[in-house]
Subunit: 395 residues, 2 copies
């Protein structure tokens, strides 16, 4: 259908067309690009529009869903009709020849806690013998604000953070040093395009442009010591990685599914009976190349549409280029859990790897890669790309 030569089994066919931001030799400034196969289409050169020559997609996304739709139709036409080929082909660059950047400005970053299995796993580890879910969990999508300035693109090195590792043993000083419990969290991120206030569940596709993958790296010892009463801070703020390609909601129509049945009645602003935004995304987590988990996003209790309605219900506007993420995605079985905290039972049950080694938490040199696919509108599967990072020793 497209005249572009696609690698066998690519997840970046004509039914995907995710957006990203890149630098490339000989092209002035940051450019917005569309990925097709193993190539990147330079949107600034092909459109001549300055909104595509900035360091973040925000400048384009702020124009809203009409502009997103028009651009997608135009790019689809350029890449499928032979008559456009001579003009467009010179602006296709091999993806290996571009430097991909954080695709959005991230004026705000919110991380939710919307996988029930994850919340229950964590509750059982830290509050054994009690109800694993906090009393508010079934009534609202719990979330907190993270540090926007340390959201960075896939590939950014994960320097092992230092900090206070826990309570003093003997009434003296708290232990201090590099974290001993460095962890990943496999998450799905949502990119706000069109700003808005007091958004309803139904407003979701008019304001959220698309989806990416997020790894909210965590230092569990720092986090456990600091988080009462104001929540996670240094245990999370050293780095959050996101995938470089934002897959438009328009490419995920075939991935829409009903979310799990709700256990309690919800307040009107959170109801999504009509047109819910569950998404059948199949995540895969690799540690040094070996698959250690396959978290299924489709079972996530709170949808992104509910999260957006919740985070704006108090009047806080959502801004172009802001990011909110699902929180760790975990399924029902151990093979589907999205963090080492869960996979190793907080270090009590080391994970055995194919090479005979074991892991409780991440070691220096470890590489964690999270990827995902979804059903495409033309059949087959589209790719959400990947978010990867390698642990470096503490500085």
């Amino acid at each position: 259908m497209t005249w572009v030569e696609l690698p066998e089994g690519t997840g970046f066919g004509i039914d995907n067309l995710p957006l990203g931001v890149f630098l490339a030799r000989g092209r002035v400034g940051f450019r917005h690009g569309v990925r097709i196969g193993d190539l990147v289409l330079d949107l600034f050169e092909t459109t001549g529009e300055r909104v595509h020559q900035t360091g973040a997609l925000d400048s384009f996304l702020i124009a809203g869903p009409g502009a997103w739709r028009d651009r997608r139709e135009q790019v689809t036409e350029w890449l499928t009709e032979e008559r456009h080929r001579a003009r467009v082909e010179p602006h296709l660059i091999p993806v290996d020849d571009v430097q991909l950047h954080r695709p959005i400005g991230v004026p705000n970053y919110v991380d939710f806690y919307s996988s029930r299995q994850h919340a229950e796993n964590v509750g059982r580890l830290f509050r054994p013998g009690t109800d694993p879910l906090p009393p508010n969990w079934l009534h609202l999508p719990i979330g907190y604000h993270g540090r926007p300035g340390t959201v960075d693109v896939s590939g950014t090195p994960v320097v092992r953070p230092c900090g206070q590792l826990g309570a003093p043993d003997d009434g003296g000083l708290p232990p201090f040093g590099p974290t001993r419990k460095l962890d990943f969290e496999a998450e799905v991120g949502f990119v706000v395009g069109a700003p808005g206030e007091r958004l309803t569940v139904a407003d979701f596709p008019e304001h959220v442009f698309g989806v990416c993958l997020v790894n909210d790296w965590s230092a569990r010892d720092l986090q456990a010591w600091e988080y009462v009463p104001l929540g996670p801070m240094l245990g999370k703020s050293f780095l959050t990685s996101m995938s470089p390609w934002v897959v438009p909601l328009a490419a995920l129509e075939a991935a829409r599914v009903a979310p799990p049945e709700r256990e309690t009645e919800l307040l009107p602003y959170l109801r999504d009976d009509g047109d819910p935004w569950g998404l059948d995304l199949a995540l895969e987590v690799r540690l040094n190349g070996e698959v250690i988990s396959r978290p299924p996003f489709r079972g996530t209790y709170w949808t992104a549409a509910q999260q957006l309605a919740h985070l704006t219900v108090n009047g806080a506007p959502a801004l172009a280029g802001e990011l909110f993420a699902s929180g760790t995605v975990s399924g029902a079985t151990r093979a589907e859990w999205g963090s080492l905290l869960e996979l190793s039972a907080n270090g009590a049950e080391p994970l055995r790897l194919g090479d005979g080694s074991t892991r409780t938490f991440l070691e220096d040199g470890d590489t964690v890669t999270i990827s995902a696919t979804a059903p495409g509108v033309n059949g087959g599967r589209i790719s959400l790309g990947e978010v990867t990072g390698t642990v470096q020793p503490a500085r």
Copy 2:
């Protein structure tokens, strides 16, 4: 000393010179300005430098402490030496003729919890009969990330937020509607100028440009229901107000004091025995014009230098134009408490006002104004200006 005519008792004399961002009729674009008396000096017109024609001080502050010092010396010379008068005077604009904007870009916003009296007051209200301080409180400055996109300038209307007001009474739906417990928090904010990583307590004046006033508006019912386990979210994210003028640390040399004696030994990265950054700022809170509290900042347990060292110890860089705040400032006596939560004992002991009315929490139409002064380097007192806001009905 200055040739500028100053109003009697102004806190904006030649020993203050705070920076802000403004729009004014006939002047293209945002401008950086220096306040002197009731006038604003247009820094773009007087210097001709484009870094002063942007919507945030960040573009100038990022140049670092040498540039801050040079600019301050230059402005001082211009405003004191008669020979500069003819050139400079046309660029002085009455402060009433400019529109003041949020002075910084706020790529990150962190709020601490560094007043011991406040933390103990809150602990006594919510966890009676137990140690009012969480176990980590004396070992680290507890803080959390707020929502940068809703930090706005003094004068921004405070629209009463809606949300979930608490647990369901009867196993049904949680109560929902406009908050019944709208509160203010009197705080001091610190503006990062020069970016940096792993900053020490001693690095503080090389990286932090100056000080402002912050009101971290809070909806106590939303907050109490949502904050376990990930901290405050919708109860705070609807608005945080900051004063328009950032007072340079250079103007606060005479305000430096020793912080309270530390009850426990601190980890090396938090020690500040040599050159501590306690600040003798006298805050005043007015409700509809009546003084209801005078929180003394000098008694704050954790200094801003310790807060900055803590928030960067894990490797998170501090960025130009980011804001971190002290948390509510409360002194030893009721007349010095910095929130209605404390002043009304969470609504149990209404505050009696001069007009005979009472308040537990804020009512629609109420105006809260926080101001502060500090000893100036030339004797007398300098002003930190004020941060004000009026409550509007829920939408």
